[in-house]
Amino acid sequence: MTETPPAEASPAIAPEQTHVLLEQALPSPLTACYWEPKNRFILVGTEEYGIRRFHLETKESVPMIGPHDSWVRAIGSSPDGEVTYTGGYDGRLVWWPTAAENPEPIRVIPDAHQGWIRALAVSPDGSRIATCGNDKMVRLWDSQSGEMLKCFQGHQWHVYNVIFSPAGDALIACDLHGFVKVWDPSPNAASAAAEAAPAAPADPPVAPADPAAVAAAPAEPAPAEPAAPPPPPVPGLLRELPQLEALFKYDTGFRADIGGARCIAFSADGSRLAIGGVTNVTNAFAGVGDAAIVLVNMAENKVAVQMSPKEKVQGTAWGVARHPAGFWIGLAAGGGGGWLYFWKDDQAEEFFKLKLKSDGRGMCVSPDGTRVAVAHADKNLRIYGLFAAPPAS
């Protein structure tokens, strides 16, 4: 699969010319953002315990608040953008009519997870929604009926992020400790909820030894203790990636874990998976560490490169996206302020960075690839153009 270049009518993409196009203040600090596929709205998570629908033409912001009782940081939609899905720290999963004049929830699943829903993803064909959260579960839902199709159980820690492969044949989830598991989202996949875990397969039969050959063979040292039997297979688990050790630390001073996938994205051909977070942590409770995005080579099942700011800036990577023109965009925020970074394929150091006015907490790219939106902690939604600004009049 090749990556689709921006539409012909779009301005020429020039990341080094990135500039602010719009700054829109909203009533509370922002937590996340999602660019609706039809390019009508940006759906923005706020600290109002819900989201706001920001209309790109009218600049109107419509609250979508009510069914949630906590922050919403997981936002997605059907491929046509007509149905919006939100997952909250209250464990609720909600369906919304995206473009309704006064959006009221279509469906609310009150206990989709026990505790926080940290992320959601929609399958490329729109038929399934995947969610993950602090109950250590990854769940798969039918987007039409709301029925839970699968519950994948195997993570030992809070599951921080989830994403479908571009082909839709794999569901990748990363937990607090940087363990990445690849789950089978197909209808016939096993899962913890659908059926009991199958018994461990029996060891393959061993051919009996030829007594004559044994007698002729030189004496050998005593055989080692038999290896422990392999653990039973985890229902629905296709494979595991190497632990992303760079994105996890147990802070011995504070006796606390810090890490996990704060952002996740695939390249369009599915060959690279980018997972962002914080590395080199020296003080977890003050957030002293460096933003980093680990790029995984999916075919070789290994880390291809760790993309980090050339000049160390305290922070966490809160957003990552693959641009159709073939580079990666990362959002970093923390003690060093807010930054947008731009990396070329498999390059550890960025080729351009842009200082932001405030810390960003979420990032999304417009469907045509010309703009990036950042949900800022200072209550502003800012939209940045990835092209040269017109000369000042």
Partner: protein, 182 residues
Amino acid sequence: MFDLQRESEADRQRYGTSEFGNHCLMARRLLEHDVPFVQINHSNYDTHHENFDFHIEQLGEFDQPFAMLVDDLHQRGLLQDTLVCVMSEFGRTPRVNTRYGRDHWGKAWSIAMGGCGIQPGAVIGATNANGTEVTDRVVDHGHVFHTILQAVGVDSSGEFDIAGRKYPIGDPAKGPIGELLA
């Protein structure tokens, strides 16, 4: 007394395997052996960054062993003469900072007391809706110390003597939170 292996496997399971769980179980053993004062620390709530991520783990570690300790003290009749306090020296900012952290807040926070000398179910004082200010029954550490001492039967208005010099037991300008005492 400090050997938790003397406790049953079931009890060690109930308290959990964390350090705090072990310390709660040890506290029960100490109180059962008439040790007059036991302090258990559960540190690391100073979350200027990602407060909610860290607290959900810290509180998860706190809840079960603490509930087991209070339950066991109750079952053994020890709460009749044991005062239990859960307290910290300050709270966290009601406002969430840009990094999802909460900073230091000394204007309003809560403590919990139960057991000996304390009126069960009492809720004393109130803040405004955002928790930024106390709106009813302002008290400080001086009142809390008087309350603790009087709950366990110490006359906090008295004095003690160090090398011939008199010191007040409690702040003379303060008194106990009377409506909290049983």
